[in-house]
Amino acid sequence: MEIFAANHSSYPKIGDAPDQQTHRIAYARWERGEISDEEFEKIQDLVVKDVIEEQKRAGIQIVTDGLIRWYDPISHIARGIDGCEINGLLRFFDTNFYFRQPVLKNRPRRKQPVLLREFEYAKSVTDMPVKAVMIGPYTFTKLSINMSGLGFEDLVLEVGKILAEEAKDLSKAGAELIQVEEPAILKNVNEFEIFKSAFEIITKEAGEERIILTTYFGDVKPLYERLLEIRVGGLGFDLTYSPNLPDLIAKVGCEKDIWLGIVDGRNTKMEREEDILRIVRKIAANTESRRIFLMPSCGLGEYLPRKVAFKKLVLLSKVVERWKNEQEQA
């Protein structure tokens, strides 16, 4: 079994230092119309490069582009959907972060690729493995307003088809790790079959081995065994809401890659290396998984100051180092 340290998804766009204000200043200028879309895009490219380098410095093995261009995890993808408008702000699950709510006004159709160019750019500026990230069809639809005239189930499937195209593009562009986030299913277990049908459109189109089904902001224990049924390469969990999940994983087992959200992406308190290692040892000893990835419990970009986000990633890389040393000595 191999253990890796990875980022979850987003990374803070700005820090506290004066030289870490580039994105904020450019965003304000772009909003005021002082710089063009193209100029803003170029600046965002630089910030993406910067946060990828910072992740590398933290010592982790799998980076993301930090979702620097995303306003939020939901509305970003909406720009690629015909028949989708953007409404007001709504609280993102139980956080104090707000997303713009999409309104699906017609049967949704794909307008343009959204994630492909972002992934290709990230790949071009690093030699490290880049994980692509996207919201899943169930969560996207659940958090949108449905004025399409379609029933909820049909709408989820239509959105699933569009997102499958996004994932297929990423797959063709060489993305070997595509994290599809479905936090909303944790609070709506009764809609599992709808969620599963839509999700499997993505795995079918993009290749199941590349897809990581990731949940957060809820206890995954009641759903764990059903998630194992889904044909995906990896499963990602937020352990802060499921502190007893490692026991269940150890008991039931897992043959997929496991992405453990093992450091709290929403609290500045630093975890202890020893506590993390204890969990890793337990899971490693009791599953058939080929790979375990240690990551934050959720995206860091919306919930932590940049300095702390960096420290959390450094912590993960130290744990991986210790694990490797243990294995060598054993």
Binding site: P12, I14, R24, D94, Y98, T268, G301
Partner: protein, 334 residues
């Protein structure tokens, strides 16, 4: 039920009292002054004088508009949680954290035992109340929201942090009451975030209000009410100030299923929209409220604090709100 409490406390308000939730937009001169203070160009005292001027200006504007219960407008506050954290023991401030879009704030970190060390809002409440004959609400951020919107590096659990904060905030509430505040609002926008924690949120609220004979309002907004209603009615307060318009009055249907048993401050204007709702639209919203709420239970206000609007938008919305409330009042009185 709470009408009798209002009468007992000698709080004179008409039917369908109009009020605001708490914050108002800061005037350009105050925004400039806050910026200059950050840059070290003006002193704390100079900023304080302008905060007082802005408070006076908002009290005058509210009286002109004709609101029945006033607020101080929170001209002296930045973030509603950070302001209290900065004035209590046990907190530090984090680096910049994103809120939405291009907005960032410094989130409090609980780094030690949380303690109330002296009045935080009392001076401002007294200042505002002395400017008007109308009642001014005392306003504090509640313990659940303080806990949920802070990083916790000290207490072993969220519940422990929340209950410790409740004790500290109780001291502030008691001090407001001792100084004459008869209406006290506890802002708890986060309380619906985790329905599984409602039990200790209620326990915390009991601590906050214990032994204080005021008319209590709890403000809750932008949450998943469907998961905490009707249990949230167990919060020991007299009035629930709820955001209704942003969610297209969906809650009214919930109230048909489970009658609302307390007073309600019903949000009739959307504070996230630049559009100033016309009187007729607001009137219709009030009428909709009256389908499920008795007139003696009903207060009228915006969905939430108005600090993100322009002064002009806020005044426009409030004016139309007051006009609409008066028209409905006239209809009720025949």
């Amino acid at each position: 039920m709470s009408r009798s409490k209002l009468e007992r406390l000698k709080i004179n308000v008409p039917k369908l009292p109009t009020t605001a939730v708490g914050s108002y937009p800061k005037f350009p001169y105050l925004l400039e002054a806050r910026k200059n203070f950050q840059l070290g160009k003006i002193s704390r005292e100079e900023l304080f004088e302008l905060e007082k001027k802005a408070t006076r200006d908002w009290i005058s504007l509210q009286e002109e508009i004709g609101l029945d219960v006033l607020v101080d407008g929170e001209m002296y506050r930045g973030d509603m949680v950070t302001y209290f954290a900065e004035n209590m023991d046990g907190f530090a401030l984090s680096g910049l954290v994103r809120s939405y879009g291009n907005r960032y704030y410094r989130k409090p970190i609980i780094v030690g035992e949380v303690r109330w060390t002296g009045p935080i809002t009392v001076g401002w409440w007294k200042f505002a109340q002395e400017l008007t004959q109308k009642p001014v609400k005392g306003m504090v951020t509640g313990p659940y929201t303080m806990m949920d919107w802070s990083f916790n590096e000290f207490y072993p659990s969220r519940k422990d942090a929340c209950l410790a904060l409740a004790k500290a905030i109780h001291r502030e509430v008691k001090e407001l009451w001792r100084n004459g505040a008869k209406i006290i609002q506890i802002d708890e926008p986060a309380i619906s975030a985790r329905p599984e924690e409602l039990d200790f949120a209620i326990e915390a609220m009991k601590t906050v209000v214990e032994g204080v004979d005021a008319y209590f309002i709890v403000h809750i907004c932008y949450g998943a009410f469907e998961f905490i209603y009707p249990r949230m009615l167990e919060l020991p307060v007299d009035n629930f100030d709820l955001e209704m318009s942003n969610s297209s009055l969906d809650l009214v249907e919930l109230f048909r299923l489970h009658p609302f048993t307390k007073d309600i401050s019903f949000g009739v204007v959307d504070v996230h929209s630049h559009i100033v709702e016309d009187v007729e639209t607001i009137e219709q919203r009030i009428e909709k409220a009256l389908e499920v709420i008795k007139p003696e239970q009903l207060w009228i206000d915006p969905d939430c604090g108005m600090k993100t609007r322009t002064v002009q938008e806020a005044v426009g919305k409030l004016k139309n709100m007051v006009l609409a409330a008066r028209k409905v009042r006239e209809k009720i009185d025949g």
